[in-house]
C-alpha cells in the first residue's frame, strides 16, 4: 500500500516536471507548423532581410528587418540605461548600504517587477512621451527612446537582483586581500569584486535583454509603431512583439499575413532561446566560483 503511494507520488512529480518541457516542445512545434507555411509563398531571405513590411498591400511584402531593427534599437537603448543603473544599485545594496536598509531596498526593487507593464505604458504615454517631445523638439515623443526608458525600468529588477547575487558570492577573501594591500573600499570593489563577478554580471545583462526583447504591451503603447528602418533612437519604431500583438486580431486566418505573424513568433522564440543559453552559461560560471568559495 505504502509502495503504491510512493509510486504514484513519484510518477506524478515526474509528469509535472516533464510537463513544462513537453509544453515548450509543443509550442515550438505549433509555431513551426503555422509559421513555416509562409515560406511556401515568401522567400526565407526576403522575409528575414526584406526592408519593407506591407503585409496587406497588393502585392504584400513581408520583410521583417525593420521590425528586427526596431526590437534591436529599443533593447539596446534599454540595456544601455538599465545596466549602469542596475550595476550601481547592486553595488550599493551589497557593499555600501547599512544592514538595516538593505532588505528594504531589495524588496523595493522587487516591487518594481510587480508593476503591470500596461501601467508603465500609461506613464510612458502621459508623462514620458510629452517630456521627450519637448526636450528633443520632436513631432511626437512616442519613439524608440521612450520604449527604451520604460523597458529599462522593467529590466532593472532582474538585473539588480542577479548582479547583487553575483557580488555577494564573490569570496570574502578577495576583498580582504585587496583591503590588506591598502586598497580603499571603492578600489577593492571595482578592481577585484566586479571583475570577479563578471560572469554573473553578463548573465544579468543577458536576462535583462531577454526580458526587454519579449516585452509587448508597453512598447506597443509608447514606441510609435512605425514599421520603418530606424536610424536613431528618436524615431518611432515597431518591435517584433508589438507587430504580432497589433496585427493578430485583423489578420485573416490562413492568409500569408497570418502565417507571417507566426514566423515572427519563431524568430522571437529563437532569439530568446539563444539569449537564455548564454545567460545559462554565464550563470553556471558564476556558480562554479561560489563553490570554490568553500
Amino acid at each position: 500500500m505504502k509502495n503504491l503511494f510512493e509510486f504514484i507520488v513519484e510518477k506524478a512529480i515526474f509528469l509535472s516536471g516533464a510537463a513544462s518541457i513537453i509544453f515548450v516542445v509543443l509550442i515550438f512545434i505549433f509555431l513551426l507548423k503555422e509559421g513555416l507555411a509562409l515560406f511556401g509563398e515568401v522567400n526565407f531571405f526576403a522575409f528575414l532581410f526584406g526592408q519593407n513590411w506591407y503585409p496587406i498591400s497588393d502585392p504584400p511584402q513581408f520583410g521583417i528587418l525593420p521590425l528586427i531593427m526596431g526590437s534591436v534599437f529599443v533593447t539596446f537603448g534599454a540595456i544601455v540605461i538599465a545596466v549602469p543603473l542596475g550595476l550601481a544599485a547592486a553595488i550599493y545594496i551589497s557593499e555600501v548600504a547599512p544592514h538595516s536598509i538593505r532588505g528594504f531596498l531589495k524588496s523595493g526593487i522587487e516591487l518594481l517587477a510587480a508593476i503591470p507593464s500596461i501601467v508603465l505604458g500609461f506613464i510612458g504615454i502621459i508623462f514620458l512621451a510629452p517630456l521627450l517631445k519637448n526636450i528633443f523638439h520632436l513631432g511626437s515623443g512616442l519613439t524608440a527612446l521612450a520604449g527604451s526608458i520604460m523597458l529599462a525600468f522593467m529590466a532593472l529588477p532582474t538585473i539588480v537582483s542577479i548582479i547583487e547575487d553575483a557580488i555577494v558570492s564573490v569570496p570574502r577573501s578577495y576583498k580582504e586581500g585587496a583591503l590588506a594591500l591598502g586598497a580603499t573600499h571603492w578600489q577593492a570593489i571595482y578592481r577585484v569584486t566586479i571583475p570577479a563577478a563578471a560572469s554573473g554580471i553578463l548573465a544579468a545583462v543577458m536576462l535583462g535583454i531577454g526580458r526587454v526583447v519579449g516585452e509587448t504591451m508597453a512598447v506597443l503603447m509608447i514606441t510609435g509603431n512605425a514599421a520603418i528602418m530606424p536610424t536613431s533612437l528618436l524615431q518611432p519604431v515597431r518591435t517584433l512583439t508589438a507587430t504580432v500583438a497589433a496585427e493578430m486580431g485583423e489578420a485573416v486566418s490562413g492568409s500569408s499575413h497570418y502565417y507571417s505573424l507566426f514566423a515572427i513568433g519563431i524568430v522571437l522564440f529563437i532569439i530568446s532561446f539563444i539569449i537564455n543559453i548564454f545567460a545559462d552559461i554565464f550563470l553556471h560560471r558564476s556558480k562554479a566560483m561560489k563553490r570554490r568559495k568553500k
Binding site: 569570496p171 577573501s173 578577495y174 580582504e176 586581500g177 585587496a178 583591503l179 590588506a180 594591500l181 591598502g182 586598497a183 580603499t184 578600489q187 578592481r191 577585484v192 571583475p195 570577479a196 566560483m289 570554490r292
Partner: protein
C-alpha cells in the same frame, strides 16, 4: 623595535578576545606567535594592520606602535598603514586575475608606478619569492590555476610589490604540503633580511625552525614571550611547558 604593543585589550562585542597583551617585535627578525586554536593569536595579528576594523561590533584599547606611531589613533591613515604592514592569509587568496595583474594591483592602487617601471616591479617581486623563472612567460595566466604553493608565493610577491616594512603571516603554510611548507619557510629566511615578519602558526616545529622570538598565547593572554630557543628549551611558565610538550592544544 619595529612593533611595540602596550596593554592591548580587544573585544568582539562583550567577549574579550585579547587581555592586556604587551609585546615588542624586532626589526628584520621573525617573531612567531603560537598557541591553541581560538587563543587570540590571529586576532592579535589582525590588530596590527587594523583588519579587525572590518568586523562590526569590535573594540580595541591600549597602544600599538608601528615604527613609533600609535596605529590605534583614530586619525591613522589605514591606506598608509596597510601599505606599510602587509598581510598573508591562511588560505592563499590571489585575485581571480592574471599573475601580472595580481602583483600590479598594489602599485596601481598606491600610484607607485606604471608602464615599464611597473613591469620592473612585477619582475622584482616575483624574483623575491623565487617565482620569476617559473612564471616569466606566463604573466597573463590566471592566478587561480597555479598550485597552492605558487599561489601563496604570489600573495607574498603581491605584498612585496608595495614595499612594506612588516609582513604579517597568518598560518601561511596551513594549506600547503610539507615540501611546499619547507620551501616557503626557506623563503621566509631570505625575506627577513629586508622585512620584519610576524607569523602566526599552529605548528610548533615551524615556530622553532623559522623564528628568532616566540610568543605563546592562551585564552587571550600572552603567557610568555622570549627568544625562541629559550621558549622551547627552558620555558618559565608551566602552561608554556605543558603546551610545547604536547600536554594540550
Amino acid at each position: 623595535m619595529i612593533v611595540k604593543v602596550n596593554k592591548l585589550d580587544f573585544y568582539y562585542g562583550k567577549f574579550q578576545a585579547l587581555i592586556d597583551v604587551n609585546l615588542e617585535a624586532k626589526k628584520n627578525e621573525i617573531t612567531a606567535l603560537i598557541g591553541p586554536s581560538g587563543c587570540g593569536k590571529s586576532t592579535f595579528l589582525r590588530c596590527l594592520n587594523r583588519m579587525n576594523d572590518l568586523i562590526e561590533g569590535t573594540r580595541t584599547t591600549g597602544e600599538i606602535f608601528v615604527e613609533g606611531e600609535n596605529i590605534l589613533d583614530p586619525n591613522t591613515d589605514l591606506v598608509k598603514l596597510r601599505k606599510k604592514v602587509g598581510m598573508v592569509f591562511q588560505r592563499p587568496n590571489p585575485f581571480p586575475l592574471s599573475v601580472f595583474e595580481n602583483i600590479a594591483f598594489g602599485p596601481r592602487v598606491h600610484h607607485l608606478a606604471k608602464g615599464k617601471e611597473l613591469e620592473e616591479i612585477v619582475r622584482q617581486s616575483l624574483e623575491a619569492v623565487l617565482l620569476w623563472d617559473k612564471l616569466k612567460d606566463q604573466l597573463s595566466r590566471n592566478a587561480l590555476t597555479l598550485s597552492l604553493e605558487a599561489q601563496q608565493r604570489l600573495c607574498i610577491a603581491r605584498l612585496i610589490a608595495v614595499k612594506p616594512d612588516i609582513l604579517l603571516m597568518d598560518e601561511p603554510c596551513s594549506a600547503l604540503d610539507p615540501v611546499s611548507t619547507q620551501r616557503v619557510e626557506e623563503l621566509m629566511q631570505i625575506l627577513k633580511q629586508d622585512y620584519s615578519i610576524l607569523i602566526v602558526t599552529h605548528n610548533m616545529q615551524q615556530a622553532a625552525r623559522v623564528s628568532g622570538f616566540t610568543g605563546f598565547f592562551l585564552l587571550g593572554k600572552l603567557i610568555e614571550f622570549d627568544i625562541t630557543g629559550r621558549i622551547f628549551t627552558a620555558p618559565r611558565d608551566r602552561r608554556t611547558e605543558d603546551y610545547i610538550t604536547g600536554r594540550y592544544g
